[in-house]
């Protein structure tokens, strides 16, 4: 209050100035929200409904959509083996992310910890891949994965070790794991960063108290650190799964979903039908299915865990 010594003297004038000021304040609310809402409704909400509409047509994008097929597109998609393969690939990526990528990020975060000398250097380095663009990441890894041991670094190492070179991106059984490795390279730093921030919010005293009470490092980690990190972990798991569901650019640039759909994801499947084959009705149905996956997952996740902090409403 002492910053504003004139506060009292304004009181008497309040009544006569009240009306225009209130109006002005209302106007601020409307004008401040308007741009965000207009853009959001035009480019986010409305497209959903437009897609739902188109998804019931067999429509190639020329002229108006007239060939109404009801839910036929959805039936076709959900029985298409390629789409089921895409779902399977997404599930593989999710499983590997939760089983390998996030634990790795957690281990690294705990190692870097609070006060390891060189902490900030490692943080900077580990997070670097995250800021590189997905195209550049994909091309960089295509160079490494080159099947020819004369050209590809990984196969050069394989031959050096006396092993057979592997066609990383051309082998139907390996390609999805090769892509996962690239995804891990790019994204583990982001999760590590989250964990580092979470770890920093755990008071040092708690861990010290546990240590004095005789807890060893392993007990300390599982009984103290992990539970106190749970809200960060929930956020990180949520983002990892949502990210896996919509994985697109890296896969598309590296393999176009191939060979023979072996690395297809839902997003590459949608892109192929929407923008390559121009079956816009069918593609819309894929988009709506993906949207439903994201929505159902988000709502279930919120219901099953406590809300991830950033989704907390008012």
């Amino acid at each position: 209050m002492q910053f504003f010594p004139v506060a009292q003297s304004r009181e008497p004038q309040k009544n006569e100035a009240d009306f225009p000021r209130k109006l002005k304040d209302r106007l601020v609310i409307v004008l401040f929200l308007l741009p965000a809402l207009v853009l959001f409704i035009t480019f986010v909400i409305y497209p959903i409904f437009r897609s739902i509409y188109f998804s019931t047509f067999n429509w190639k994008g020329f002229g108006p959509a007239v060939d109404y097929v009801g839910l036929d597109n959805y039936r076709k998609i959900l029985t298409d083996t390629v789409f089921l393969k895409a779902i399977k690939n997404v599930l593989i990526i999710i499983t590997l992310s939760l089983g390998l990528q996030l634990p790795l990020a957690l281990i690294l975060a705990v190692m870097v910890g609070r006060d390891l000398p060189g902490r900030s250097v490692f943080r900077t380095i580990f997070f670097l891949p995250y800021v590189l663009s997905e195209v550049n990441t994909a091309i960089m890894w295509m160079l490494l994965y080159n099947a020819d041991p004369e050209r590809g670094f990984l196969n050069a190492i394989m031959t050096l070790l006396g092993l057979q070179p592997v066609a990383w991106l051309a082998d139907m059984n390996i390609v999805i794991y090769a892509i996962f490795f690239t995804l891990t390279w790019k994204y583990f730093g982001f999760h590590m960063l989250l964990y580092l921030t979470g770890l920093q919010n755990i008071p040092k005293e708690i861990e010290e108290a546990a240590r004095i009470d005789g807890a060893n490092a392993v007990q300390n980690f599982f009984r103290i650190t992990l539970p106190l990190l749970s809200s960060t972990l929930k956020t990180s798991v949520y983002m990892s799964i949502l990210g896996s569901i919509q994985q697109f650019i890296i896969v598309w640039v590296m393999t176009r979903g191939g060979p023979v759909n072996a690395s297809e994801t839902m997003a590459t499947y949608m892109y192929r039908y929407g923008f390559v084959r121009f079956q816009l009705g069918y593609g819309s149905a894929v988009a709506i299915i993906m949207f439903l996956f994201c929505m159902i997952f988000s709502l279930l996740y919120q219901a099953l865990t406590r809300k991830p902090d950033y989704l907390t409403g008012l």
């Binding site: 209302r26 004008l31 401040f32 959903i48 697109f248 929407g274 008012l314």
Partner: protein, 289 residues
């Protein structure tokens, strides 16, 4: 009695440090391998790339770099990327700051509804929305609003899909400003606008910088939106150009390396300059909101 226990303690600490550093250094090497091979490749001739693909280029050959830097199309892409990035960032930060301020500080009916509506956008990421968005762009085009094959189309879509995340982050920052300030300002006769403009904005400047840095990175790296919106070569952004370049010269690994290196270097420099802001924005977005 005490000495050996102290010594073993010291030894244990020492050992664990060695194990930790070994692990961290191995990870560091794994992170740098693709980047270093790329940088090496960018200063090799195509012949060197085939005969010694992963050796240190000695002497470095700058031909590919010079070639790319002397093509006008590279600079056009750079310029387009800059235009899109700056417009998206300025637009997104302005619009999100205004909305976040209203959600954090002002009271009105149906505030909860609008806020939840905007937050729901997080469940509809751009990779999923791209085809639906394309329909709307085409529809706007048919109404005479030029959205396809213009940078405006890219900018508007990028801003629209930044809204949910950035408003959440900024709302958190605006909420953190003590409410006594607001009371004092209103008693002093500040209008909502004055309060926003004169008191809030200067206070949250660092947070605006964090959000801006995040939006800049995302916009600069974005491939998907330019990919579906832009057709003409002279409008391509750097990531889109990189992808097309890779499709065109896919066999010339040295030339590709040079191009990718040149397009990655601005990002890396920006990262080292603005790391603090980027990290602040990301962790606030994911942890606090």
């Amino acid at each position: 009695m005490k000495r050996p226990s102290n010594f073993t303690k010291w030894l244990r600490k020492y050992y664990s440090r060695i194990i930790i550093y070994t692990f961290l250094v191995i990870t560091t090497i794994l992170i740098f391998i693709p980047i270093v091979i790329l940088l090496f490749g960018s200063v090799k001739t195509t012949g060197q790339m085939y005969s010694h693909p992963y050796s240190i280029p000695n002497p470095p050959n700058w031909d590919n770099i010079i070639n790319i830097l002397s093509t006008p199309s590279f600079w056009t892409m750079m310029k387009n990327s800059l235009v899109v990035m700056l417009s998206t960032t300025i637009g997104a930060v302005t619009i999100c700051a205004m909305a976040a301020f209203v959600f954090a500080r002002l009271k009105f009916k149906s505030k909860g509804f609008f806020f939840n509506l905007l937050s729901a956008g997080l469940m509809f990421p751009i990779n999923v929305a791209i085809l639906p968005v394309y329909f709307v762009l085409r529809q706007m085009e048919s109404f005479g609003i030029p959205m396809i094959d213009t940078l405006w189309g890219v900018i508007f879509v990028q801003i629209a899909f930044e809204l949910s995340g950035s408003i959440l982050i900024l709302r958190g920052f605006f909420t953190a400003v003590p409410s006594e300030l607001q009371d004092a300002a209103y008693i002093d006769g500040c209008s909502n606008f004055d309060f926003f403009w004169r008191i809030m904005l200067p206070l949250v400047k660092p947070s605006l910088a964090a959000v801006a840095a995040l939006v800049m990175i995302k916009s600069w790296n974005d491939l998907l939106v330019p990919l579906i919106v832009l057709n003409s070569n002279h409008l391509w952004t750097l990531p889109l150009g990189t992808m097309q370049f890779q499709g065109q010269y896919g066999q010339d690994l040295a030339l590709i390396s040079a191009f990718v290196a040149l397009s990655a270097i601005p990002t890396i420099i920006f990262y080292f300059v603005a790391e603090r802001q980027i990290v602040a924005g990301l962790t606030a977005g994911a942890i606090k909101g």
